[in-house]
């Protein structure tokens, strides 16, 4: 998948690029509207990550033009202007999602995956996870033919860890993913532990869950 990052804050753009490259995306960078439009004209992208506060204008004004060049691309707006009007305007202009700064790169990737499944009809087969199989689209976890009942939050947790497999996720990152801005570290981290305990219990009834590791003092990781 090809991604264009339109972000004037260079350091931030490089970090995003660094992260997405590791997740096997191919990235281009643009730091101005002009620069962004030039790149869109030449290349076709699957994802365009658009910052709104650009030095030569408002990123929102770039959207309609960009859609002409790349009608099939998915647009995600990234902005520190977290007000609702911007959000609505962005979505009205055909953006697919909206992430207020500061956002987590893990969250960005998870949103991109969700858009890919929805928009590009990426048919993911059943993905193996230890002795289990995960169907992200249908939000199922299966052992052979058996469907294992997980609550909505439990599945969210597991799929988030699964999406970022081999990477340790802190309790805070996990609770932010589940509760968004309402995450309260002191409280919800314990709750994450309780969730993981439940997930393990439910899965262990069918097969071992060695893939779901606890990293002491940090959080959890799914090893593949």
């Amino acid at each position: 998948m090809k991604v264009l990052i339109v972000e004037d804050e260079k350091t931030l753009a490089y970090e995003m690029e660094d992260f997405l490259k590791k997740a096997f995306y191919i990235c281009d960078l643009a730091h101005t509207i002009k620069d962004g439009l030039e790149k869109m004209e030449i290349n076709s992208y699957d994802f365009i990550l658009l910052d709104l506060g650009l030095p030569d204008g408002d990123g929102l004004s770039l959207l309609p033009k960009a859609k002409k060049y790349n009608p099939d691309a998915a647009y995600i707006i990234l902005t520190a202007r977290g007000n609702l009007e911007d959000r609505i305007a962005g979505l009205d202009l055909g953006a697919d999602d909206y992430l207020p700064k500061p956002f987590s790169l893990l969250e960005l990737q998870s949103r991109m995956q969700a858009i890919a499944r929805r928009k590009f009809n990426v048919k993911e087969e059943l993905l193996p996870l230890g002795d289990f199989n995960v169907d992200l689209q249908k939000r199922l976890i299966l052992f052979k033919e058996n469907q294992i009942e997980l609550s909505r939050k439990e599945f969210d947790l597991l799929s988030y860890l699964f999406l970022h497999n081999n990477r340790v996720l802190t309790r805070m990152q996990l609770s932010e993913h589940i509760w968004g801005t309402f995450a309260d570290d002191d409280y919800d981290s314990n709750y994450i532990d309780a969730h993981i305990k439940n997930i393990r219990k439910k899965l262990n009834a069918w097969a071992p869950t060695d893939f779901l590791e606890t990293v002491r003092g940090v959080g959890y990781r799914i090893k593949k």
């Binding site: 700064k101 987590s104 081999n166 340790v168 709750y191 940090v218």
Partner: protein, 438 residues
């Protein structure tokens, strides 16, 4: 007491005092004036008599007798002329008693010796003191009536004048001070007055409010800009740390340190987000057009937060009997409002405590929702400051009210909701939200 009443009161009492003083001293004044006049008229009569004697001789009076005496019909005045000892020289006016026709009366008497034809004579002219003082009482009475009338008249003028004079002050108070809500956005024109002091007062107030507004505006702007500007560096740091954590080769102690850093960054993020939210509320960037029932909002909050109840085994009791539709509100903000209050009720509660949410709509009063907990409570001396930004209560080391209640305050202000708090340490805290009348 109002200034005009004070002025009128002072003017009235001072006038009354002066009049009273005058009326009390009137007898003495009249006495002295009358005695002066009596002396003067006695002297004139003396001059007249001496004049006649010089003209017509002493026998004009004596008619061959040794002495002469005469008095008026009612013995109010008398005149006596008699020979006096050769050596005596008298010239005086005094009050003394005389017996006239078996009546003893008080007289004001002029005694004067003079020489005529080498003989010494004593002339006495007397006036009864009663006749002298007969005008005293009526004079006093008339003076009193006239003065009272004058007082009433001048008071009326004073009243009209002071009222007219002070009217601009009332206008200034009404237009600039009473019912003015901060921030002073509504323009209040200067009050027309020709009194320099009022002009100065009015202008000063306008200036002061402009200054307050300006300072407030600057603070809002700063908060908005600062929190907005912070977002980019926070984003960079967060993403850098996330990328660092993704490195599988990192030794464990470094990972732990990065996690600690991320926790700190998360705090910074929360502070910035809260400040940004407060400044957005203060800048009125939220539309108030939703009609929503509190039960719905509280239900949404509980969905988000109920898992935290189990940790302390808290009991949650929601009893909304009235459940009035709240009109023209911003649902997101009200969610945040209830979220923060309920979250605090959980956060500062004790194990196996309880939270009670009730509402009431008393006759003739406004709709009230109350959130009551059995938590650690807030000390009396801290109660006044719980809504202040960055104020921490010295409860325990890590317990501070942070910005949660500042956000609550901003949201209530923005919606015209009155918030009251009652608390007792170790017993619990009760927040009451009094909604404006529909």
């Amino acid at each position: 007491m109002k200034l005009s009443s004070k002025l009128i009161l002072f003017i009235t009492s001072s006038k009354l005092a002066v009049v009273l003083l005058f009326v009390i001293s009137l007898p003495f004044l009249v006495d002295s004036i009358v005695s002066e006049y009596t002396n003067y008229s006695l002297r004139r009569q003396q001059a007249k008599v001496i004049n006649i004697i010089h003209k017509n001789g002493i026998d004009h009076y004596l008619q061959g007798d040794d002495s002469y005496g005469s008095y008026t019909m009612l013995k109010e005045e008398y005149i006596a002329l008699e020979p006096a000892a050769a050596k005596s020289l008298i010239d005086t006016i005094k009050t003394a008693q005389r017996v006239v026709e078996r009546d003893t009366l008080n007289y004001r008497i002029l005694m004067h010796t003079f020489n005529f034809g080498s003989k010494n004579y004593l002339l006495e002219i007397g006036k009864t003191t009663a006749s002298i003082n007969q005008y005293n009482k009526p004079l006093q009475r008339i003076a009193l009536y006239v003065l009272m009338g004058l007082i009433a008249l001048t008071l009326l003028f004073d009243l009209i004048f002071t009222r007219a004079l002070i009217r601009p002050l009332g206008k200034i108070i009404k237009s600039k001070l009473i019912n003015r809500k901060f921030p002073f956005k509504d323009y209040s024109p200067p009050v027309p007055t020709s009194t320099q002091d009022f002009k100065y007062l009015d202008e000063s107030l306008i200036q002061l409010m402009d200054q307050i507004n300006e300072a407030f505006e600057k603070e809002r702007e700063f908060t908005a800009n600062a929190s907005h500007e912070l977002m980019t560096p926070i984003s960079i740091l967060q993403n850098k740390m996330e990328n660092l954590l993704g490195d599988e080769q990192l030794p464990e102690n470094v990972v732990l340190r990065i996690v600690e850093m991320m926790k700190t960054l998360s705090r910074l993020k929360k502070i910035s987000n809260s400040l940004l939210l407060i400044s957005r509320i203060e800048n009125q960037q939220f539309v108030k057009s939703a009609h929503v029932k509190p039960s719905k909002i509280i239900h949404e909050v509980m969905e988000e937060i109920s898992h935290r109840l189990s940790e302390k085994e808290l009991e949650m009791d929601i009893r909304l009997k009235e459940d009035r539709l709240l009109k023209d509100v911003n649902q997101d903000l009200l969610f945040q409002l209830f979220y923060n209050l309920i979250n605090n009720a959980i956060k500062y509660n004790v194990n196996q405590g309880s939270i009670l949410i009730t509402d009431e709509f008393p006759e003739g009063k406004n709709y009230v929702i109350t959130i009551q907990d059995t938590g650690i409570g807030i000390a009396e001396e801290d109660l006044d400051f719980i809504f202040d930004r960055f104020r921490k209560a010295n409860l325990t080391e890590n317990v501070g009210y942070g910005l949660g209640l500042s956000i609550v305050k901003s949201i209530t202000l923005y919606h015209g909701i009155e918030i009251r708090v009652k608390s007792k340490v170790n017993e619990g805290t009760t927040f009451s939200l009094i909604f404006p009348a529909l």
